[in-house]
């Protein structure tokens, strides 16, 4: 059976993912020109490469249309309900580090923990006539963290597809849930991360769709083994 690996189609993630596979003895070459969205692994007719956008990779893995993918854990956990039942995180690849965090305005001097935020949220409507609003593109992770881990129900999510860090200052939301790698953008926007507000420490992962056909497939075992050995 041919095994398909989905790789990021552009940017830093594409280079880093290809580099890892090359070190694992699976050098990726594009089919046709190097803008092509299909590729192969030199000397391996049993592996195909599909270049996809990072969020498509998590979706296609969820559907099982590709067997493996290299993408951020945050996108997989946000994109798929019950991610661990549907996919296996085979290896953490050591690049694409980003934390998904809860950040509030620095000037909220009284708020440093989720418990503080719970207090503020419980009171919010009585004071302001509306719920506390959270700007984020991470609906699922936010709901799981706020409701599941911290029992906070009383908030509303406002969807934000870009420049989320600016939302509190502009007044379009009270707080944010977003990714950060160095924290510089948060600081520049006068936001602080709650001490227990790290939802997920994400990085690029080799992710496998849990498919029955994979059981006993030597190619699957080979790919996972090679990538893991490279990281030792």
């Amino acid at each position: 059976m041919t095994i398909t690996i989905g790789l990021p189609s552009k940017g830093r993630m594409k280079e880093d993912a290809s580099a890892i596979l090359a070190r694992a003895g699976l050098p990726v070459v594009a089919v046709g020109n190097d803008r092509s969205y299909r590729g192969r692994v030199e000397g391996r007719d049993d592996i195909e490469i599909a270049f996809l956008s990072a969020s498509e990779i998590s979706r296609e893995i969820g559907n099982g249309t590709i067997d493996f993918g290299v993408t951020g854990e945050d996108l997989v956990r946000e994109g798929l309900a019950e991610a661990d039942a549907r996919v296996e995180f085979c290896a953490r690849l050591g690049f694409g580090h980003a934390d998904v965090v809860v950040a509030v305005p620095e000037i909220w001097l009284d708020v440093d923990t989720m418990a503080d935020l719970g207090d503020v949220a419980a009171d919010f409507r009585a004071r302001h006539g509306r719920r506390l609003t959270i700007a984020t593109k991470y609906w699922r992770l936010t709901q799981q963290f706020f409701s599941g881990n911290h029992g906070i129900q009383l908030y509303r999510i406002v969807e934000s597809l870009g420049a989320t860090e600016g939302a509190p200052a502009s007044g379009s939301a009270d707080i944010i849930v977003d990714i950060t790698s160095t924290g510089a953008t948060l600081t520049a926007n006068h936001l602080k991360i709650l001490t227990d507000g790290v939802i997920l420490k994400s990085e690029a992962c080799l992710v496998r769709a849990r498919k029955e056909a994979h059981a006993g497939d030597p190619v699957v075992t080979d790919i996972v083994g090679r990538v893991r050995d490279t990281l030792r």
Binding site: D112, A122, T142, Q143, G151, L154, P168, H190
Partner: protein, 377 residues
Amino acid sequence: MPLTNLPPFAADLVADLESLGTERVDTPVIQPAEPFLDMAGEDLRRRIFMTESETGKSLCLRPEFTIPVCLRHIETATGTPKRYAYLGEVFRQRREGANEFYQAGIEDLGEPDAARADARAVHDALHVLANRLPGVPLAVTLGDQSVFEAVVAACGLPAGWQKRLVHAFGNQERLSRLIADLSSPEPSGVFGPEVERLAILGKLDDEAALAAHIDATMEATGYSTNASRSPVEIARRLREKIELASTRLDARTLSLLTGFLSLELTLAEAPAALAAFAGKAGLALDDALARFDARVAALSDAGVDAAAITYRAAFGRPLDYYTGLVFEVTPKGDPAVLAGGGRFDRLLTLLGATDRIPAVGFALWLDRIAAAERGAA
């Protein structure tokens, strides 16, 4: 599964509801999603079926009837008191059972005699269930959020703690964890470096000066001072938090709270037990207990046997909008909730009613009633 799962007894049930002096209402299946998310919280989003209108308005399939019935009442502005009955399909993603199922129930809006209206809600739910399930022994559990609120207030706890405790009520695990936190000898509260700096500068002592400092910082960093939390609100809560950080829940209050929350007895015995608790603890609970006793009396006036109802002091239902009575009916020895309800005196105002309209109601799960009927046959 059959295409329609309307139980065969639906017509009889509608007749029962009508005989209880109600007016039948129907509401659109497609509802604006906002009120449900606003009242029940964002977590509901995962469990309702949402869609969007062409203009981008969030819509959902009716997940329950209370909010639609209340909204309809506000729109039609026909005055109170009103007793509405409904029967129809609701749509929710459930872990067990179908995603679309039938519910029926009564919403009793604007009855000024709260005890009487509460008693009527419990009576009506039991009456309808008894007619559908003759011979099935039923268990009724009853709780009262307002008694817990009164206990917490009478204990003289700081306002910040009262709010936290009341908010956690009904969720046993969260409430126990919170009480353990408040009584642990470890100092609580985490403060950032800026707060420590202000403390050294002595800027935390005066609320007005602190608020002025916050205001100036917000101006300087481009934050609007009125779009979200205001400088005064932040300053006040910071001072409250500093005060609470060094206060612990003392042993006596801790044992009072846990003693109260462990009360579980028949409703007939509850008034005496609560009075004894208040007397022994030296807590002034007169108003809350008077309302509680009036409800017990109204229940026996309505012909409900208080000795057959279990009162659990810690019993609440996981919905933010209940304000007093809450109750659930199950078959004896079976966790399946056949009927659940309670009092929601703030909901209509939150939904936009200009007058305060006290309200109480209950919902019946027709699929579970049908299952209990099959089990009994």
